[in-house]
Amino acid sequence: MWQYIIRRVAVGLLMLLALTVLIFLLLRLTPGDPIDAYINPQVPMSASDLEALRVRLGLDQPLPVQYLAWLRAALEGDFGYSIQRGGTPVLPLVLDRIGPTILLMFSGLAIAIVVGIGTGILSAVRRNTTTDVSLSVLSFIGVSSPAFLTALLGLYGFSVMLDWAPSGGMLTPGEPFSIGDLLSHLILPACLLSIAHSAMIMRYMRASLLEVLSQDYVRTARAKGVREFWVIVKHAVRNALLPVITLIGSTIGIAIGGAIFIESVFNWPGMGLLMVNAVTRRDYPVIMCATLLTGACVILVNLLTDIIYAAVDPRIKVS
């Protein structure tokens, strides 16, 4: 068992190393570097000042030297300074963003689960009625709406036109922290993030429940005289939820993707906004650290899964 874990940890570390090399090379292959991002094309800059900046940032060194210098510092926990943020240390900058992203992502997912399951049940129970058809049409629209479009329309409609929610940010600037303020900023991006997921969950829930409702044990429950509400809640929904739970688990990755768009539109200070800003401004240290951290999370989760499998399934140990 221990041998297996050590082997998996070693493979995980090698994958992380490969990831850093890959990201490092990909960044250097894109046109433009941090200095190019620094130059406003309309503002005259002295070439020698820019060269001094290039030297100070180590961008004048050969690529292998740059990579090894970054790796050596990273192994000591020093991920450097953000190039475009006046010397802000990268690690705390990236760690600060994890919380807001998780908050937004899981709030959106929670709304999607409640709404998706609720409307899925309603749609299945009222099969082929106007309610069912209307919900199905809405779900198709929801599934096919790109996140950036729903975000922009939502921002314009609910914030600018109706003034129901703030237009962006996570807290009101200059105000002391309050849960109410946080919720008022969270509710709109979270709802918009949940649209596509709600629609997907609704489709799965409807299909799954319709299948369960035709099972013998449901018929038996009805025959015993159990009220229809309890037949659905206790007997049908529980069983119909199993494939939906699998779906929810597998769509967390999509939620992260959607959160990036939503964060950009609503200026939500999460990993998505940080990454988008870092890429457009070629902020190499931030991109490297954020990618490494995300990659480490994915590899760690996979590693833990493998270890748990190995612990419960003796065949894994053999293989």
């Binding site: 941090p34 094309p41 005259p44 996570m170 105000e175």
Partner: protein, 526 residues
């Protein structure tokens, strides 16, 4: 009973959701606050706090830092800021600054020692300063007394005071003992900076906003508002949404957005000169553009007046050379009137009537706004009518800079770009002087025209304003005649404020200024 419970559950959920939606931030502000998107648009530099590493964003920086001298409101003259008087010796080598009585935000007096420290710090490349080369002419800084600083230059530099407008004074008593190299990457700038401006730094919430508070001991009186907040936005459209929602009171806006505020009494639209000349850049390393007649043909093929009228709504000035300021533009320039037949004839004369040979010519730009997209599409159609088929390609700024600084000329035979042309026209030098051809500088179109170079260098060396204007007129004539690039127009830029703001001044200065904005006078109605 059970059905009722289920219904109650649903209702509770709806009530909870509705209450969350209607929780409006507690806006009961005990004090006056102005919130704006001060770093939105081309004049902004969000996230930068080191004033000597700024390439823009000076509108905001000058609310808590101050330079020795500053441009006045219409950017026509340089006047005192932390200096009450500036005298220049006859040989233009010695600048004597008499300093005002000012205090740093921590209560210490501002003295000539701070001036000496700031200029030497800014001249030191180790400090991370992007002004080091531009201040290289400083030979010494003397401080005969606490209120006098004398700067001696190694050689005359007519642009010296213009450069000083962007050099913010820094506190020697706080930074003097620190290693300049450490300060290049220090968080001091974003956590506890100390300036002499009307507002003092309170906090920066990463990627969200910067908060300042009124400086009670400001020499021109305490600011009228208690707090100034600079909110960050991912783009100008998001800032417009916040402005319309009443969350902020000011932002830069794109020209198309500015139109949506016209006639709305809740807002005030501010229009100003962009000080950016838009041009069609001919890559002089590409054979296609080496014949002057081909460049002339491009100019005659484009109906610039029509584009200004229909796509800019008249809010742009036609340019005949690199600038439009009347005192430096001579009479009798070629206006390159729209004449497609003449364009075709010129191409035929030059032997380029089969220009492109059936291939389209890549046309690179870093502009990504819908308005510029429309402008480029219109020009594309006009050029096609005379047989010049171009293919616009919009990329982000780093990609653009990466391409135009490279030697892969096939990637950018033609560009659509902008160049700062004021308040000091000498800023065009880096775009036109062969000494600035990459990697040495920013002459990205590889322009090498001896007559033009000589004219620019003469104009830049002249310290007498009247004579300098005459020399800049000569530069304009040469540009108009030889077409180093195809000058198009100087468009207006816009800001929008809430009608609640009083005595608020903003102008779309290049790099955000700085200029005399008098933030201590800004006020907001309840």
């Amino acid at each position: 009973m059970q059905r009722r419970c289920f219904g109650r559950l649903i209702m509770a959920g709806i009530v909870l959701a509705a209450s969350a939606l209607t929780i409006v931030p507690a806006m009961a502000q005990a004090n006056k606050t102005i919130t704006g998107g001060f770093d939105v648009g081309p004049g902004g530099f969000p996230g930068n706090f080191h004033p000597l590493q700024a390439t823009a964003g000076f509108t905001w920086l000058s609310t808590y830092y101050e330079p020795l001298v500053i441009y006045n409101q219409d950017l026509s003259e340089i006047v005192g800021a932390l200096s009450s008087d500036v005298s220049v010796s006859e040989d233009s080598l010695r600048y004597t600054f008499k300093l005002v009585d000012a205090k740093w935000h921590d209560g210490e007096d501002f003295t000539s020692a701070d001036v000496k420290f700031s200029l030497e710090f800014a001249k030191n490349p180790a400090s991370g300063s992007l002004f080091a080369a531009r201040l290289a002419d400083i030979a010494s800084v003397e401080t005969p007394d606490e209120k006098t600083a004398i700067v001696t230059l190694a050689k005359p530099n007519p642009a010296f005071l213009a450069i000083l407008t962007q050099i913010m004074m820094l506190p020697e008593h706080l930074l003097g003992a620190k290693d300049p190299a450490e300060l290049a990457n220090s968080d001091w700038w974003s956590t506890e900076p100390v300036g002499t401006g009307p507002f003092k730094f309170v906090r920066y919430v990463s990627d969200q906003y910067v908060e300042l508070a009124a400086f009670d001991d400001y020499r021109n009186g305490r600011p009228k508002v208690d707090r100034l907040i600079n909110r960050y936005f991912a783009n100008a459209a998001a800032a417009v949404a916040a402005l319309k929602a009443g969350e902020i009171q000011f932002t830069y806006v794109e020209p198309d957005d500015a139109k949506t505020f016209e006639g709305n009494n809740d807002f005030r639209v501010i229009e100003g000169d962009s000080y950016v000349i838009n041009y069609i850049g001919f890559n002089h390393k590409v054979d296609l553009w080496k014949d002057l007649r081909v460049r002339q043909a491009v100019m005659h093929a484009i109906d610039r007046k029509q584009i200004i009228e229909s796509l800019y709504g008249g809010a742009a000035k036609l340019a005949s050379c690199g600038y439009v300021a009347p005192q430096i533009v001579p009479e009798g320039l070629n206006d390159y009137a729209y004449d497609p037949e003449k364009a075709k004839a010129l191409l035929a004369e030059a032997g380029w009537d089969q220009i492109g040979g059936g291939q389209t010519i890549p046309w690179l730009t870093y502009y990504n706004s819908p308005q510029v997209g429309n402008v480029m599409a219109a020009i594309q159609a006009m050029l096609a009518q005379v047989g010049i088929n171009v293919s616009p390609r919009a990329v982000d700024v780093p990609t653009y800079n990466g391409i135009v600084q490279s030697s892969d000329f096939d990637q950018f035979p033609l560009v659509y770009a902008g160049a700062q042309n004021g308040p000091n026209p000498a800023s065009l030098n880096v775009n036109l002087n062969p000494a600035q051809i990459p990697p040495a500088g920013n002459n990205i179109m590889r322009i090498d025209m001896p007559e033009l170079t000589e004219a620019i260098e003469k104009a830049m060396a002249e310290t007498d304003t009247a004579k300098a204007n005459a020399l800049w007129q000569k530069v304009c004539s040469v540009m108009n005649e030889q077409l180093p690039w195809g000058s198009m127009w100087v468009a207006s830029r816009y800001g929008v404020t809430s009608a609640k703001l009083k005595d608020f001044f903003w102008t779309p200065a290049p790099a955000g200024g700085p200029y005399q904005a008098y933030p201590e006078k800004w006020d907001i109605a309840p």
